[in-house]
């Protein structure tokens, strides 16, 4: 079955420390990968996306993610976080095929502490 796994429900980190939020998806020949962010009391907005080409993609607010086909992963990273990065982060996958629906992981709460 098509699925997306975010193993960490919550990641506490101190300000200015690096962070990695993990995302794995079930294998498929064709996938498009996305990270969305949801700030407190706000809607979801796109952080970055992988469609094709370079496996390292850069997004807004200094975030980047690396597509690893062999490990079916799309981990999100930031070298130095800020308090303002505190939010819920969702990994999403669109599988190629007849349905093309967008499947989300359960989310990871990034809690940045001073």
């Amino acid at each position: 079955a098509q699925s997306v796994t975010q193993l960490d429900s919550q990641v506490p980190v101190f300000e200015e420390a690096p962070v990695e939020l993990r995302c794995n998806y079930s294998s498929s020949v064709s996938v498009y990968l996305f990270w969305y962010v949801q700030y407190p009391n706000q809607g979801l907005q796109l952080l970055l996306k992988y469609l094709s080409g370079s496996t390292l993609v850069k997004g807004i607010n200094g975030f980047e993610a690396e597509f690893n086909k062999s490990q079916t992963s799309f981990h999100l990273r930031k070298p130095s976080v800020h308090i303002s990065d505190t939010a819920e982060y969702f990994c999403a996958v669109r599988y190629g095929g007849a349905t093309n629906k967008l499947i989300f992981g359960t989310g990871t709460l990034l809690a940045v502490q001073p």
């Binding site: 975010q6 498009y32 979801l44 996306k49 999403a92 190629g96 629906k101 967008l102 989300f104 989310g107």
Partner: protein, 114 residues
């Protein structure tokens, strides 16, 4: 407006009553999604419309849930005989269509069943 619009933003209803949630997608977007976001549950896929194709209803949790999309634009999600476990934020998203394009989300409708 230019974004996805959902109404109402908040809805409180009594158990057993029917509710209708409305979504106005971005003009020109042929794909429309409904998701449910519950505390600690991430984004649960409900239904997906793509152009004139038959919708993908595989995520609807029971036959009390239904959705339609009139004229390829506005969509209504209907929940009949609401239960307390239906309480959640219902999110609508739209995208240009098949393939790699990102989905844009509305602010959601917070449904509370009392």
């Amino acid at each position: 407006g230019a974004g996805v619009s959902q109404s109402p933003s908040n809805k409180v209803t009594e158990k057993g009553k029917d509710v209708e949630l409305r979504c106005d997608p971005i003009s020109g977007h042929t794909a429309l999604y409904w998701y449910r976001q519950s505390l600690g549950q991430g984004l649960e896929f409900l239904i997906y419309f793509q152009g004139n194709s038959a919708p993908d209803k595989s995520g609807l949790p029971s036959d009390r849930f239904s959705a339609e999309r009139t004229g390829g634009s506005v969509s209504t999600l209907t929940i009949q005989r609401t239960q307390q476990e239906d309480s959640a934020v219902y999110l609508c998203a739209s995208s240009l269509g098949r393939g790699s394009t990102e989905a844009f989300f509305g602010q959601g409708t917070r449904l509370t069943v009392v």
